[in-house]
Symmetry: C2
Subunit: 501 residues, 2 copies
């Protein structure tokens, strides 16, 4: 049976991707710098091989024959066939040579970025960046032709199937008109409240707190671990999810909320349908849904007033010296206000949820230009500065480290990904409202550290669904309406203007 | 040109092996237990793929054509062609099905061994062990036919090309007759000297000492790292060597000497000829030479009286509490005697260098039986007990944890490897004598922590040679004579009877 043969091939592909995921994790967390060039070569060959397997010459025949088996397939199998075909079409659109060249260029560029960002050296980084953008444009062109999409949409489709710039624009336009006024109001409302919690916050104590919280909110340590990396991420495989964070000794909240964010990703992976492990239909639906799960846990749950009623004592215990010095700063109310503070700033990953979409909108607009050729790589620093001044009133002129060089995405060849963050934030807000309707005591449960009822709701509506249906359908089935901005707007108004009272 | 095409294929193979090495390292150091089954599947597919690439159908023609290019090749290229062909013949002897089945069985068996050893549960382990032995016998048979070797010799040839049971036997026979009497004399000579150093030895302090010593003796941290694993090993790739150790809070010397042992392996890898990276001729010569390098550093260098004149103050500084409590135990002489103590015991990896060959001889004899079928897996515990009583006067009856279950080798399918340890010990002793002739002030240099002259000698005679020539030739060129036991016997007499005075 062709369907059965295809599942066998995709299972083997998932094995190779398992290996790729672990070696990539190692590169970011464990590898000494000198290992970089050899690692880049090794990963490039592996990725070439994965691509070769994903574009086997017999796939065309197998897919053609599998269509005829349609009536014998269950709904999940049918969905699996659709997802397999989707992967194959995307892979087959790219020549092997290009895949290996991209892997090599992206590996070199990411490794160079690590030290050049620290030196604020955009000029030094430019040759690497140019090569990545040029190859990515070539790939976008090829993908676009194969999928009948514009080049940028073809890239976005790789992260978020079914979404296009055209679908994103009205949502982002609405946020662009809503946010500036809202940010001003929120800043006025918060005044001096939510000042940073005074330390010290030794790294080991922060790590212990992170691990304890991961356990409380349901991370399965038998199938995953926490490590340190330059840029936090969630990697690995559902059976062994690797999340990372980084520690700032002056501010425990960065690592703590970062860990909870990545734990949101991890719980999604760990709870994907076990019976479909290794098959495309068993994988996470897309990056917007993935980000919705991390932002659900971080923003909707763990920055809420309810959560801090539960978490404040844990935090105070985690940092005995600091809590002893200024006990009032470790009161639940003080910590909640610190977590719900709007601070327009340079760095996306440190941004609060209100200003965050501004960072994404900027990157979305610049990415579109990089791919359609209207923005040249060398002009990115200036465009970034203009955008940041427009969106957040901050100039990054001469400060590329905290400007266009701050993210690993472009150095690593991730173009078309950024919109997923804000689509995820909108989705998370909409999911939380739906969960509130289904679980009337949800806020009470969170304040007592009872996460199971909420997990059960998410498992049913999101996690157990894998990639059975499309993103829009998944959001609509779980929340009763198409994705919009209203619930996000209501959520930030509740938190930042009404203070969740 | 066929030779060029072959080097390209072998370069890509080295990339896949790079990936395999890193994922195997991860499995032993980082992976949570629950990740095991999926990891086993993934690695099995990867190994099958590596095997498939190592047995490409076009290799037969390429090798045939390359012979005709012989006159155009440099001596190193000729040696590379020889080593490529050697690898290919070994790989081609095994069907892909068997390679994947072995990988899967060995992964399952090693994972089961980890917890069953702790429970002293040989009966629980037996089904895994049986499967590994059965598959290994099948492989040995196939390899033996292809290489015109006996099944066991065919396995040994994979670790130590050119060696056979027939070549090993007279060396081991000589040791079997020499050691019992020597052990008795050494025990009498040492009396109560060299009592264990009293702690405490906190893990973090042990780790810091290990890292400091690695740096002193020339480990390149830009191309490697130190971690913790259940069974210490040296893995990774020459550009990124991963060594591991484990810590015993009651005895710092286990981790310290373990780290130095693995550092010996690591320095060999890190100093292999750079211009031949990724090609078979650039790889380490074989496991006997590899073990000679770890034992050279651990036994010849770092357990010498000279070395302890240098290292004692570092050790005292590393454990301030313990050194403050009993300063006399941290004097150079006391530490040297502690490191040069013969203690017949159950555990091979904890054995001193005098009793160590007894552990190896036992395993060699049992392995021969497992492969020729005269010893059944279920009879190993009893045979082990008999052998240990005979060789070292110790019974392991009812204590398989410290008997036949102590090593990772058999659970992981490594049969034919053990002789390399003792061949390595003999080689190390012979190399050290040759180095002493070349560097008359060697002992003085070691006592001052000057390792560069010795490294230069090793680099020239061993490290830079890669796999250019065979093991026997390499030993003979470096030391001026074929491998024997005399230098080892002289070495242990100097250390354990004369106390290096």
């Amino acid at each position: 049976m062709s369907y059965a043969a295809l599942t066998e091939h995709f299972k083997r592909l998932s094995h190779l991707r398992h290996v790729e995921a672990m070696v990539s994790w190692d590169e970011a967390t464990m590898m000494p710098t000198g290992g970089g060039p050899a690692r880049g070569e090794a990963l490039s060959t592996l990725r070439g091989l994965i691509h070769q397997h994903a574009t086997r010459p017999d796939f065309a025949d197998l897919f053609a024959a599998a269509v005829g088996e349609g009536s014998a397939l269950s709904p999940w199998q049918t969905a699996n066939l659709r997802e397999m075909k989707r992967e194959w079409l995307r892979a087959a659109a790219l020549p092997n040579r290009l895949v290996e060249a991209m892997s090599r260029a992206e590996s070199r560029s990411e490794q160079a970025w690590r030290h050049l960002r620290a030196k604020n050296d955009f000029a030094g980084f430019l040759p690497f960046f140019r090569e990545v953008v040029a190859l990515k444009r070539e790939a976008a062109q090829a993908l676009g032709q194969a999928l009948s999409l514009s080049p940028y949409d073809a890239l976005m489709d790789g992260f978020e199937p079914g979404f296009t710039a055209e679908k994103v624009r009205p949502l982002f336009a609405r946020l662009r008109s809503f946010l500036p006024g809202f940010i001003a109001k929120a800043l006025e409302r918060q005044g001096a409240a939510g000042a940073p919690t005074p330390g010290p916050f030794p790294t080991e104590e922060q790590r212990a707190l992170g691990l304890a919280l991961m356990g409380k909110v349901g991370f399965d340590f038998n199938h995953g671990r926490l490590d340190t990396s330059h840029h936090p991420f969630c990697g690995g495989v559902p059976e062994d999810v690797r999340i990372t964070t980084r520690y700032d000794q002056a501010d425990f909240s960065k690592a703590m909320m970062g860990v909870l964010h990545e734990t949101g990703h991890a719980k999604y992976e760990q709870n994907l349908p076990k019976e479909w492990r290794g098959q495309p239909v068993g994988a996470a639906r897309g990056m917007a849904i993935h980000e919705s799960q991390s932002l659900f846990l971080e923003m909707q749950v763990c920055r809420s007033r309810s959560f801090w009623a539960f978490a404040a004592p844990m935090v105070a215990r985690a940092f005995p010296a600091a809590a002893h010095a200024t006990p009032e700063a470790f009161a639940s109310e003080a910590l909640f206000l610190g977590m719900a503070r709007v601070v327009p700033g340079y760095i996306r990953v440190n941004a609060d949820e209100v200003t965050y979409p501004c960072h994404v909108i900027l990157r979305f607009e610049l990415e579109l230009g990089l791919i359609d050729g209207s923005l040249r790589p060398e002009d990115v620093p200036e465009a970034w500065d203009v955008g940041m001044r427009d969106l957040l009133g901050l100039s990054t002129s001469g400060n590329d480290r905290d400007g266009c060089m701050q993210d690993v995405h472009w150095p690593a060849g991730l173009i078309g990904y950024f919109p997923s963050y804000t689509l995820g934030a909108l989705t998370a807000a909409q999911l939380f409202q739906a969960a509130l309707r289904a679980l009337p005591d949800l806020r009470g449960q969170l304040s007592r550290g009872e996460f199971e009822p909420l997990d059960a709701w998410l498992r049913q509506h999101i996690w157990a669904q894998g990639s059975r249906i499309g993103t829009s359908e998944l959001v609509e089935q779980a929340t009763g309406k198409p994705l919009g901005t209203e619930d996000f707007e209501a959520h930030v108004a509740f938190r930042y203007l009404d203070r969740e009272r």
